[in-house]
């Protein structure tokens, strides 16, 4: 197998959570850094709370919008249970970083999957599991995305300033201020973990 110079992120969550904006902010920052970036976005239908799966891939040259099975470098679940739908992208050597939000969206007809179930099964797919608690963001669940952006900075060839610049392209005013604050908290969260 050829040594791959590409990096693949799978982002999953629920419709309406802001996944598209998440990969736009990240992809824009990576493009400005000189990478060839491709994302796939799920648009259309007001699929509120339906499962959404997007890809962000970057490297030296343009690559396919969808990755191979078992090839993701990072999988981000903006809603906890969504991680269980995309583990076919986790590498077999368990090196994929799983970034899992503790945000849980319950449904009317099914008990939410237990924390024990995650603890038992996820280690079969990855040695690098990071749970992100959501206590830092009380008011707007969409800020969770920015918290996670901050958290993953150190995994990527990006600086805080570069992501900040990208956020500037998409937000302004109070919303931008709130996002920048959360971005910083997210980046500190990661450093504390290490």
């Amino acid at each position: 197998m050829m040594e791959s110079s590409n990096y693949t992120i799978v982002v999953t969550g629920l419709g309406g959570q802001g996944i598209i904006r998440f990969i736009q902010v990240l992809g824009n920052a990576l493009m400005n850094k000189g990478y060839s970036v491709i994302t796939s976005e799920t648009h259309g239908l007001s699929q509120r709370e339906g499962k959404v799966k997007c890809f962000l891939r970057y490297g030296k040259k343009l690559i396919a919008p969808i990755p191979m099975n078992c090839s993701a470098d990072m999988i981000i679940a903006l809603e906890k249970s969504c991680i269980l739908d995309v583990l076919n992208f986790a590498k077999l050597d368990k090196s994929t970083d799983l970034i899992i939000s503790e945000f849980k969206k319950t449904t009317k007809n099914q008990e939410y999957i237990t924390d024990d179930y995650f603890k038992q099964n996820l280690p079969n797919f990855s040695k690098n599991i990071h749970y992100i608690t959501i206590t830092k963001i009380k008011n707007d669940i969409r800020l969770l995305n920015t918290l996670i952006l901050g958290f993953i900075i150190s995994f990527l060839p990006l600086s805080y300033q570069e992501l900040q610049k990208s956020l500037n392209n998409y937000f302004s005013g109070e919303i931008l201020e709130a996002n920048l604050k959360i971005l910083q908290i997210g980046s500190i969260l990661r450093r504390k973990k290490d």
Binding site: V37, E41, Q47, A64, N121
Partner: protein
Amino acid sequence: MNIHKLMNDTSGKVNFLLGNEAIVRGALESGVDVYTFYPGTPSSEIGEIFMRIHNDIGVKWVESSVNEKVAIEIAGAAYARGATAMVGMKNVGLNVASDPLFAIATTRPKNFNSALVVIVADDPQAHSSAVEMDSRYYLKLLKIPALEPSDPQECLDFTKKAFEISRELKLPVIVRTVTMVSHARSNVVFGDLKSSDISNEFDLSKEVNVASRLYFLELKDDQIYARMNRALHISEESSLNKIVNLEDENKYRLGIITSGVSYHYALEALDHLGISIPILKLGFINPFPVKVVTEFLKKFDKVLVIEEMDAFLEDQILAVAKIADINTQIYGKFPFSYSKEQSLLPLVGELNPTIVTLALKKVLGNEFTLNQNDRNPIKLETMKRFPIMCSGCPHRTTGYALKEVINKIKSLKGVDTYFYQDIGCYTMLSYPPLGFANVKYCMGSSIATAQGVAHTSNDLNIAIIGDGTFFHAGIPALINAVHHKAPILVLILDNGWIGMTGQQPHPGSNIMHYQEGIYKKNIDLESLLIGMGANVTLIDHSSESDSYFKHLKKLIQSKCFEVIDNQSLRVILIRDECIQKIVKRRTPILRQVNFELCNKCGLCYNQFSCPSINLIDNFVIIDSNSCLGCGICEEICPNDAINKVSK
């Protein structure tokens, strides 16, 4: 995407663009005069952007047309008159637009500036469609050239190329995308913007007039033997059809022919296998470059054809091999077998690099055995989630009222009720807990399908159709039903907008509430229905006080009874605006639960099933982040336990 950059950035600038945004830029770099469209995923963003920018950038006419047929007639006539025109739609929209397109394709405008590009966005896997349909066989029917980009950069480049070809040949040119191209976002390098070369001449000679049978055959002859013949030469010489990896040593004696996004999947699969195999990537998918393909086939013992959905390329490759007497073994879908076992690639659904890798391994044989990477995802417990309507969605209110009425009708009248659904957000009424859907075909089909059943049944048949869909394709069906006195109930769910694709305006939309509206005249739906001779009753949420739900229920029940008792047609026009539009104009009045009065009966969070209301730690909680303040929960609560949040 920063819209100003899309409009103004100069040649050489790089932007992070969606495939659809790159198509807009490609049109602006071609001096586009006219863009017409009907929104449909995955094509909608093109129209949305044009609506926002066209006044500032001097595009002469942009409209969200009532349907694709009208959209292409407007763009087609502009093309005949000398405009550089573009029209956009999703795959099934081409079905609607195909009728006039046959005539437009035959015409031969004389004006130099005349060019017509038709954007058709397919949706393999039917991510956002009622059916999965490969639009490419239309190319053979219509006999017009088509280009297929594989990524956002090619969306820009191929759109420009399509305008050039159309301008030269005087044929409409289709640019065919798929979801993974239209909705992929990538680095895109800009070229120069171009201003329009439109002149005021309009030569209405026989070349743009296909009304006469004599002229038509003459023009069709010219279309096929002159213009398509030249298109074939362009296709044969075109750099859009390219061969990669040819110089590499190829011990497998295998080649790949592909087009569009499948090209990237093929590259990814080869990268994964660590091998290099020559690929012929077809950017010009019609007319089929016979010589290019023949020369490519001759080089190999085996060729794998990689394409999504139908075996459009493979059919033609098989024919080319036969004509040139080439014995190369051709692999792909074995389209004539209708056999799942024989086909290496599926005729159904989207491809991805994993599927392509598996197909490649099978062609390559023993050296590449299947391994764990090809495994199916391990079965894990997951959450089952249906897409649901937004908090505060008026369709939920209608659906819940309907549910209560239907239960009554069964007990009071002893008849069963069947539902005929249409295309729109209200399609989601078919999911639990409401579950209304018996038949659904396509845009505008609900009324005629209800009629089709009603004439031979004693049950109650209810058609559910949105306002946008009604304007698009429901009007002829309702005229037919009224004329033939069909004993059906038609519910027109008038939320004011084309909700599902992003709240675009339609002819009935309130012209005060969208930017372009100042240039438009509003069509009053109620007057239209009356004019059609329908027995129509209007109910308007905005003019009802606190008892809208009660009145709605009563109205639906009385009309159901009238249909059953009188065996005649009734229409209820339910005017209740899309909540996503309302919240953009005013701050919602949120609701809260009074825990002392709430007995957790579950009516609001289970039966009505508002996603903002949940039972958390044994308390019924209304989520203030997601509640959009429709207020229906307050009205339906049997314990008066829900009230407005005081400021």
